[in-house]
Each structure stands twice: as structure tokens, then as C-alpha cells.
Symmetry: C2
């Protein structure tokens, strides 16, 4: 979304602005300044230039008299919906074919009453209470992501997604931990010892080759504050670790947690394993989610596109380039249907398109097969009470473990309420595969058994409902994200980054934010811009 700066001069920039992919003042701002911020005066001089889709008037200017081209979009996920939405605003005649019974693709919110049957024939019906849900796919939005621009434009309210929490837990039994520790405690210990060690090295002169006297003084001041060091620069615990008795009224000063582990114990437990997670450009708090479920985004897209332009239950069976367009064959309600259009944007999973008859050629087929699906899965556990809030004082966030559940997510909505849905595992790769090989009942048992090790018996006794979701097993998707060595611009994928006849390809896999809606949207914006330029030039 910061493409304006990606060009190479004034004319390129003006061109981009005209065709409507200017990234707004925010994007311009982000490119300026020595430390990532614009000099104030320069920034102030910039006018806001929000994203504008290709507009109908562009066609008129090209002498097409307002008659737009037709586009069939295969896949009603985020890339397909973005394409239909932006092209629709520009006057194109779009039809979206979605194989499943709802739009959104991997943007999937599971609520009570939802029934899903996996490709192995195993079905589950969710029995979550009213108002409770799990986001089985994408669940978080970073502040800089273009997805938020669409939430604004489409009127989708957002709230904080609790991606980090000092009160959440870390538990690495594989590293010898016998009980969980809170993030706040682990951070205090790790940062305390790091600060103590660096202070010692600094004070001993070991870094005199690196540091001036001023540097040393400033560094030591920082370390003392950062690591809560004593006056002798040693770490012996601090209130940052937390309290066993909370401070209260007069007479109750509180008691800091006792039992500060040794430096060797802290690093042997590997509690710092996930500390850098929260520094990620894509994961750093603050993060956000739509109020009421991630699928508020595809629902809002569908309303804006017009439901009549979207055909659900429409599974692609054949895709043909022709001399002047495309012929797309699909099945719907057991009947074979054919739709012709000037162009096609194929957003379905590349490994599934590879299985579908098409005439895109062997180079395309090889490229499609080079994109390998990767797997992820989640289980939603609805509880009769929010014991994690009442007993553990954990109001959201993520507990990390080296057990194969990988992550436990506490809900980012419904705080203080009666019930809530915990994500009991969110795992990927080999850990996800372990659970995909199990029945839903076995997955639940495995997840709960591990959760009890972290949270005690309420993890089992308060359970009210569950739903497990393995992306590997989902019809018409069969994957969570993609393995693409070298990134989307690697030569192996070049045929997918170019229009093949009248067929264009879009999707998060053709972006640098695979698995993120931002990636799907960015790819769609690129493709609709290319397609529009092509129409203008035709």
C-alpha cells in the first residue's frame, strides 16, 4: 500500500495517482525522515491522497462510452472480494464464483449452528452459545495493514486483538519447566540478568573498545531502569515480576513473588524463546479485530459488491482462455454452468487450480504445482465460566508452550461476561499434522489434557462446547498458507505474476504477506490495476 514511493520519478508517480493506487498521506509520511518520521514541515505540506479505485470516468475518458468489461472472479475469499469490489466501483461487470456456501475463504468465523464437513467426510456442528465465536482463519490486523482501510471504508467496527499480555503464561516442559510462569515474571528475569551481565561487562572495561565514557554512563542508566537492577547493578528480582499478595490498603504493602530463579535456570527454561514475537512488524501490539468476528469483513464486502453478483456453491470445473475472453465452467446445485467473460481473475488456491482442467499451459501448471500448501489449525473451547479472568486474572493474550498445542489464545471479546471461547490450540506444520490425523474427539482430548497441565482442572470441568478446524482438511481450500521458497517474485512463480491470456492471478500467495488479508488485498489491488490498464489500452 505504499506503492507511490516505489516508482522512480514524477511521471511514474503521477501515473499511479491517476490510476488510483496512491497510498495516502500515511504512506508518504512513512517514507520520510531519518528515523521513520517525516520532518514536520515536509509532512504538513503533503495533502491527503486516499486510495481511489479505478473509476467509471476513466473508461469514459478512454472512449468506451461507459460500457465496462466483464470479469469473472474465481474464489470469494479476500482477494476475490477485493477485486470485485474495486472493479465494481469502476463500473466493471463482475461475477464472483465461490465454491463454498459462504464468502470469505480462509476468513472464517465459526458460530453455534455452523456445520462443516472435512474432505475426509468427517463433519462437525458447532454448538457455541449465542454471541460466542472463533475466528478459524485470520484473527488479527496490524495497524499499518490496508485491511483496516477497508474496515473504515466498509463500516466494520474494530476492537483490540490482545496479541500480547504480561499476565499470560509461558510453559516449556521440554526445557524442564515444572510449572508455568507469567510473561511479566519471565521478562523481568531475562531482562534483569541481561542487564546485570551487560552492566558487569561495561563496568569491568570489557567493552571499552566499543563505548565512550558517555556511552557507558547512558547505557548503565538505561540498564538499571530496564532490568530493575540494584545500586550495585545486580538483579535480585523486582516488582516487575508480580506479587504473591497484591498491594492494597494500609497494612497490606503486598508481597513480591519470591523464588527468583538463577541466571542459569532462566536461560535453561528458554522462557525468552518467544520474546521477539511482539517486535514483529506484523505482530507488534496494538493489533485489532473486527467486532463480532473476522467474517464481518467478507460480509461487508459482499454487501458492497451486491449479493446478486456472488454465486456460492459454485465450484470451478474448467477454465479456458479464448481469443477474446474466458470460458469458465462450474457446478452449482449439481448442475453444470458456463459463464463467459472478457477477463478472469483466478484467486483460488494454486494447488487446487492445478487439479482443475484448464488450458493455461504447462508453464503455468508447473508454477501452480510449485506453490505448496502449509497447514495450520485451531480448536475453539467454549467454557461455562471465564475462569481465566476470575482465577488467573488473564484478560486476553496468548500463552506459549512447547507442547504441541503451540499457543492458547484467550478471547479478545466478552470480558467479564459469563462465557468465553478459548483457542485451545493454534498450531502449524508438524504440530498441526498431529491433530489433523485425529478425530475431533481425539483432538479435543489431546488439547484439554495439555491445557490442564497449564491451567488445572477447570480446563476440563468448565468446558461447554468445542470445534476443531484443520485447514488441511477443508474442502476447496486444503491449506492455511503457502510454502514458496524465494518469495512470490522467485522465477518459479513468474507465470503467475503475469496475465496468461485473459486470466490474471491474485491471492495472498502472490504477495509478501502470505496468510494475511493485507497480502490478499494488496495482490488484488495490483491485479485490478493491471487489468484496468489493459482495458484502457485496448
Amino acid at each position: 500500500m505504499a506503492q507511490p514511493q516505489h516508482g522512480s520519478g514524477t511521471s511514474r508517480r503521477a501515473f499511479l495517482r491517476n490510476v488510483g493506487i496512491a497510498g495516502g498521506a500515511g504512506a508518504m509520511f512513512a517514507t520520510m525522515g531519518a528515523l521513520g518520521l517525516a520532518p514536520t514541515a515536509a509532512y504538513a505540506a503533503e495533502k491527503e491522497a486516499p486510495f481511489r479505485a479505478p473509476r467509471r470516468s476513466d473508461f469514459t475518458l478512454q472512449g468506451r462510452g461507459g460500457k465496462a468489461a466483464s470479469v469473472v472472479i474465481i474464489g470469494g475469499g479476500i482477494a476475490g472480494l477485493t477485486s470485485a469490489y474495486e472493479l465494481g466501483k469502476a463500473g466493471y461487470d463482475c461475477t464472483v464464483l465461490e465454491a463454498r456456501d459462504r464468502v470469505g475463504g480462509r476468513n472464517l468465523t465459526v458460530r453455534g449452528g455452523d456445520s462443516l464437513t472435512d474432505i475426509n467426510g468427517v463433519g462437525q456442528t458447532a454448538s457455541f452459545s449465542k454471541g460466542q465465536y472463533m475466528n478459524a482463519g485470520p484473527a488479527r490486523l496490524a495497524q499499518w495493514m490496508v485491511t483496516l482501510d477497508y474496515c473504515r471504508e466498509l463500516g466494520v467496527p474494530i476492537e483490540v486483538f490482545t496479541n500480547s499480555n504480561a499476565s499470560a503464561l509461558i510453559y516449556n516442559p521440554g526445557y524442564g519447566m515444572t510449572a508455568p510462569v507469567r510473561y511479566r515474571t519471565a521478562k523481568a528475569d531475562v531482562y534483569g540478568y541481561v542487564s546485570e551481565l551487560l552492566s558487569k561487562a561495561t563496568n569491568s572495561g570489557a567493552l571499552d573498545g566499543e563505548l565512550t565514557a558517555d556511552d557507558k554512563e547512558r547505557l548503565l542508566t538505561f540498564l538499571k531502569s530496564y532490568g530493575s537492577l540494584g545500586s550495585d547493578y545486580t538483579y535480585t528480582g523486582s516488582e516487575h515480576r508480580g506479587f504473591s499478595v497484591d498491594p492494597g490498603a494500609s497494612g497490606t504493602p503486598g508481597e513480591e513473588l519470591s523464588g527468583v530463579p538463577s541466571l542459569a535456570e532462566v536461560f535453561a527454561s528458554n522462557v525468552g524463546r518467544t520474546f521477539s514475537f511482539e517486535f514483529g512488524y506484523d505482530q507488534a501490539m496494538l493489533m485489532f479485530q473486527p467486532v463480532g468476528g473476522m467474517d464481518q469483513i467478507p460480509k461487508a464486502f459482499a454487501r458492497a459488491i451486491g449479493e446478486e453478483k456472488i454465486r456460492t456453491g459454485a465450484a470451478l470445473t474448467d477454465l479456458k482462455n479464448t481469443a477474446d475472453g474466458v470460458v469458465v465452467t462450474y457446478t452449482q446445485d449439481g448442475r453444470t454452468q458456463v459463464i463467459k467473460a472478457d477477463y478472469c481473475i483466478a484467486t483460488l488456491a494454486p494447488h487446487l487450480l492445478a487439479r482443475t482442467p484448464h488450458n493455461l499451459g504447462s508453464e503455468v501448471q508447473t508454477a501452480l504445482l510449485a506453490v505448496k500448501p502449509s497447514y495450520a489449525s485451531k480448536i475453539g473451547l467454549e467454557y461455562k465460566s471465564r475462569w481465566w479472568e476470575k482465577d488467573f486474572k488473564i484478560f486476553g493474550g496468548i500463552t506459549e508452550t512447547d507442547m504441541d498445542l503451540d499457543h492458547i489464545w484467550y478471547p479478545s471479546y466478552g470480558h467479564l461476561g459469563e462465557r468465553g471461547v478459548i483457542i485451545g490450540y493454534y498450531n502449524t506444520g508438524a504440530h498441526s499434522e498431529v491433530y489433523s490425523a485425529l478425530t475431533p474427539a481425539q483432538r479435543l482430548e489431546r488439547a484439554v489434557t495439555q491445557g490442564v497441565m497449564i491451567h488445572g482442572s477447570k480446563y476440563r470441568t468448565e468446558l461447554a462446547a468445542s470445534f476443531s478446524h484443520q485447514w488441511k482438511l477443508v474442502p476447496y481450500l486444503e491449506g492455511a498458507w503457502h510454502s514458496m521458497p524465494g518469495g512470490p517474485d522467485a522465477p518459479a512463480y513468474a507465470p503467475l505474476n503475469t496475465a496468461q491470456g485473459n486470466v490474471h492471478f491474485a491471492g495472498d500467495y502472490l504477495s509478501y504477506l502470505d496468510a494475511w488479508q493485507h497480502g490478499a488485498i494488496s495482490s488484488a489491488r495490483k491485479i485490478v490495476t493491471e487489468l484496468h490498464q489493459r482495458v484502457l489500452a485496448s
Copy 2:
């Protein structure tokens, strides 16, 4: 709130449970386990024991036949409201006298139409738009604080208070910074160089006396991840710093922010000055706020107490202990009123009680005068657009500066909306005094001038309304919090921690969480328990 563990044996514990200050399973849990978490089996064996107020049945058991004592509570802030609420549940006949026209005390939410006149006669009327507000006093709740238990009990919905944000800014012109830097960038640089230095010291053998070979290997693994170090353990920037061109579709891998400052520059700029803020037990994310304004808490208290038991505009003019109760004189609507009761809980500001005629004696007067008020202030700036979200991609959080505005808070509600209220300064001590000496117009100009240095001209041009609030100048409060060397249990304050005749004292100043509602509530719980024990024994 964790008093059960503060006792010294079974009988003490049973006693506390009976009089109703058991802290719940969460508190018990918090005391267990080597690293702050209970061994699972032990925790699982614990039964939940939520806070229970003194109950009417306790009186019945003591042979009082349900006839409760009467209590007059001076001050309708959080301590006073908690006292009235808990005693009311136990059947006491309570009357709350609040000098101002609304309950809440320093828990004050300012909305459009609110008029406030300072003790110097200067008045302001807020013209914020509908739905926009500023919390002039307390604004955030930590997960462990008892305040959240009351939100649950009283049905006050909460949402995340955005206390930390990687996208917010740091700007220390006093340390030579010429432009703001984002938190994410500053953290990447500081943690990068800290990790590089400690790696060097470790690899050079300078810490061989401190570290085993295993320790060294584990430490280096951590530092490489934590500091985003290269394979040679040097820091040369990373994606953690942020991007000047965000990653997008194929062809747009993004561009990392350039211009990595040197180690000397990073530490000279003092960007790490506030990094430990987010480790504080009281400030670590996740933090929360009531939906719709902090005053939802006193409003809910007032509803639960019964509005008829609360007299607003009732300013204390005299407080007398008598042989069998108290005589409290106050003015309301210009008329002098007298109320007699069995007991009094005085929750008003101690330095203001010291100015009021009373017969509590010279030791109490000396103690009241020993509690010195401290000052804080905020200005609310309503903007016509949420330019911080659109242009800066800052969705909440706090920008830190060494200018005298101290902190800028971006709103934690209304994301993606049309308008929003920024806290343009939240400052304390000498910086607050600077603004208290100015007129509201001068405060606004000073705050906006500084804000423009950080955010550019929209900080001025998009402004729609403002309201500045200096706690020093607020009638019947005249302070934000308290200076009490040695803490609330220091000998100087002993007379306030003991009932004086039939008068008890409560307030956040008589707690270890001064300035927090948790402190006020904890103090009130202590006092109503003492008072109740006294009634039971009488």
C-alpha cells in the same frame, strides 16, 4: 485483595473468610508456586471463594435482629461509594455526602455540555461532540486490580485501554532529537545494540566468570533473536524497525526503514527512557477501561447503592465525634443541614478535611496536614478527523516526550470513526504546575504548539474542541494524588489508620495504590470490615 494469605494461620484465615474479605481463588493461586503459579494439582484442589461483603446474616447471628447501624460517608468518590455499597449490602443504613454535583470524585469523565468552574473562578464548558469524552482522572485498570471485580459485579462492560503501542512515538528534543521516532524503531535499535554488546562481551570471554558454556550458548541464542542480530552478532537494523514502503503484492517486497543510528546516537537520544514503563505491575498491558467512560463505575455504584442515599452538592462544614455517634454538618443549596449517625467514614481529601472544623484532635490534624497533595492535569483535544489513524497509522497508545506536555494519549475508543479526543497533555508535578498557571486558552496554545512539533500542522488545523483540567484547581478536591513519604503505614499517618472515636478514614491515600481506584476500594474494604467487626463486637 489478597489478604487471606496475609494472615498467620488457620484461625486467622477462617476469620477473614467469615467477615468476607477472602480474595478468591485467584488470590490464593497467586501465592503459590515457585515461579508465581500454582502446582496444577494444588490449584485444582482449591475451591473458588469470591469476595463476599459483610452480610445481613452476620448481624442476625450477633443478635442484632437485623437492625443495622447508621453510617454517614463523607465523599462520593470511589472509596465512599465502595463503603456505601458494601455496607448497604450488609444492611447498614448509609448516607453519602458529596460536595460536588456528581459522584465519582477524581473519577471524572468530561463530555460535551459539562461545565466546571475552578477554585480560581475560571470556568469552562466542554463542547465535545456526542459520544466523545475524556477521562480527566483515572483512565486505566490493570487486570489484577479489584476494580475489575466491581465492573463484573456491577455490570460495567470494559474494553482494552491502549497503554502501549509500537506505532506510537518518542520525541526527546531535550536530548537532541530532531524528529520523533516510533516505539518499534527505538526498541529495535536499543535492544539491537544491547544484544550486540552483550554478545561481544560473552564471545570475548569477559563474562566467563559468570557463565557456563551452556549459559553462553543459550544467552547468545536469545540475544540473536531478541536483538535481531546478524550471523556475526552485529546489529545493522531489522524489520522490527518498520518499513518506509510496506510489503505488499508481488513486486513490492517493501523497504525497511533506512538510516539506522549509531549506538552512541541511540543512547544519547535517551529513547529508552520510558521502556520500563510497560513492565510495571500497575501499567503492563493488557490494561482496560470501561466502555463509554470511566464514570460508568461511579454511576453503577450509585445505582446499586440507591440514588436516594446519596446527597450531592452537600459540602461538609463540621464533623463531630459524640459519645455515641457522629454529628455531621454540611451545606446544601445554601442551607445548613445536620445529620447524625452511629459512625462516619471520612473519605474526603485529607488536606481539605484539615481545613474543616472538627473535634478529631491535634494528632489527627497533624496527620491530615502531613498528607500533601500532588498535582496532575490533562487536556482533551477533539479533532474533526482521526488523522493519527489515517496518516500515522497510530490506533491508540501513548507518545512520550520530554517536552512539558509529558504524554500524548491517542483514544482507546472510536477507532476508524470520524472524530476522536486526544489527551494533548497528561503531566504531573512541575509540568502540571506550568499549565495550572495559565488560562485555558494559553494551555491549549502551549499544548498544540508542542503537538505540532510531533505531528505536524493537522494537530492545529483539525482541532474542533478542547477542555483542560488541572486537579489542583478543582473545588473540593484540589489535588490529583498524595505525597506520603514512607507510605501509608508510616508513623506520621498512624492516626488516620485507626478509628478516631466513631470516625473512620478511607481513601486511596491510605493504600499502597495511591491514585488508583484499586487503592480507594482496598482501603474502603478494610474500613468497612473494621467497622463491621466493631459493630459485631458492640
